[in-house]
Structure formats: C-alpha cells, structure tokens
C-alpha cells in the first residue's frame, strides 16, 4: 500500500537554528498537511496546502513556519529560529482529492530543540 514517508525520523537541533522537515506524500494525492503532537497532547493541525499554495493555517503556524513543495514529490516544513516549545512530533499527511476524505499520515519526525 502506498505510504507517506518522512525524513528524518529524529532531528535534534539547538535553539535558534533552522530545521527543514521533509515529506514525500503519496504520489497522486493533491492535498497536503502538516500536524504536530507535543508529548502527551493531541494531534494539532498546522497547515494545509493545495495547488501549490497554503489553503489554510492554524494560529500555531506563524511567521516562524513555512511550507514548500519544491518539486513534484517533496513537501517540506521549515521552522526558523527554533524554540524549546517547538519540540514535538511533526506529522505530514496527504489526501487523494476533494471527495476522498481520509488522510494518510507519515510516521513523523521527532524534533527535539535543546
């Protein structure tokens, strides 16, 4: 079965550094998402992306964050000037189309900001 793949599985960074989390959504999917989950808390929506632009973002997704689909396969989340509170598991997800409601999630990138 097709999968959403995320790299790296773990990322450790120093506070203030920039990180890029990478995702390869399922190849024929059109909608892409980033979610995060702080340890012990719920899975939270960050941003949705469709037709090469952000379609919706949460209040968490401020100017520190950006997303990009640099080519036909990758979907990245950049976090500038990381803070301790950015430490979380970040999940990428994709969806086939408007009438296919279920989301397919990757296994996540565990980001630790020291």
């Amino acid at each position: 079965e097709p999968e959403v793949t995320q790299t790296p599985s773990h990322q450790v960074t120093q506070m203030g550094q920039e990180v890029i989390l990478r995702c390869v959504p399922i190849s024929n999917h059109l909608y892409f998402y980033w979610y995060r989950q702080i340890l012990g808390q719920k899975v939270e929506f960050l941003v949705s992306f469709y037709n090469n632009e952000i379609s919706e973002k949460s209040e968490i997704f401020d100017d520190q964050f950006s997303v990009e689909r640099p080519d036909g396969s990758n979907f990245t989340l950049k976090i500038r000037s990381t803070k301790l509170e950015d430490s979380a598991m970040y999940f990428c997800a994709s969806r086939l189309g408007a009438t296919n409601e279920k989301l397919f999630f990757g296994s996540g990138t565990q980001l630790s900001v020291l």
Binding site: Y31, V43, S48, E56, F105, G108
Partner: protein
C-alpha cells in the same frame, strides 16, 4: 469555541470483551466523522468514516454510531484483542466552512486490552 471531547482516562478491558469509546463535540456541524488509531510514536491511521445521514457503520470488529442530535459518536471494538491496544482519535469534519479537508482531532482515548 469548538470542542471535541473523548474519555481522557484509559479504558482497560479484558480480551474478548467489547470496548466502547465516546466522542462528543460542540460548536461543530460535521457532515461526517472519522475515527483513527494511533500507536505510540506513530502517525494516526484511518479506521472508519461515518456520514451525518448514517446511523451506524461497521468494519470487521469495529462499529461506529453517529447521533447528530446528541452531537456524539460511539466507537465499539467487539471481541477485543491485545493487538487492539492503542489510542483512538475522533475527528468531526466536513463542515461547510472547511473546504480544505483538514481534521481537528480529539485528545484520544487509550485502550488497553489485557489477555
């Protein structure tokens, strides 16, 4: 504000019994509701979707009900097995204000099935 409430306490159940999980929502008018399973350190995995005009949906040992009047969904795992141990997330969705398919999840209910 919109809220999704799931039992916060872990549900401990003996193998073979039926586990019943509750999802209540407020200030949502979902066209459908989804249930996902999440294992520790892993991403959510889709299980079932039930639409507002459906009272009940089944998939193998799983059953979901959806009561739009009560604003509640119940999720049942029948003949539970230790492999069913996981956290189960609900996500009301398909609001007319939401064109982009994002999901807002409840905090989830952890199910522990003991042999």
């Amino acid at each position: 504000s919109q809220k999704i409430e799931q039992n916060s306490e872990a549900l401990n159940i003996q193998e073979g019994k039926t586990a019943t999980l509750t999802c209540n929502y407020t200030n949502y008018s979902p066209a459908y509701l989804q249930w996902y399973r999440q294992d520790p350190g892993r991403g959510p995995v889709f299980l079932l979707l039930i639409r507002e005009n459906e009272k009940e949906k089944r998939k193998e040992r799983l059953k979901v009900t959806f009561d739009t009047t009560l604003k509640q969904s119940l999720f049942h795992i029948t003949a539970s097995q230790p492999a069913d141990s996981a956290t189960y997330l609900c996500a009301p969705a398909g609001m007319t204000t939401d064109s982009w398919g994002k999901l807002q999840f409840g905090a989830g209910t952890q199910v522990v099935v003991t042999p």
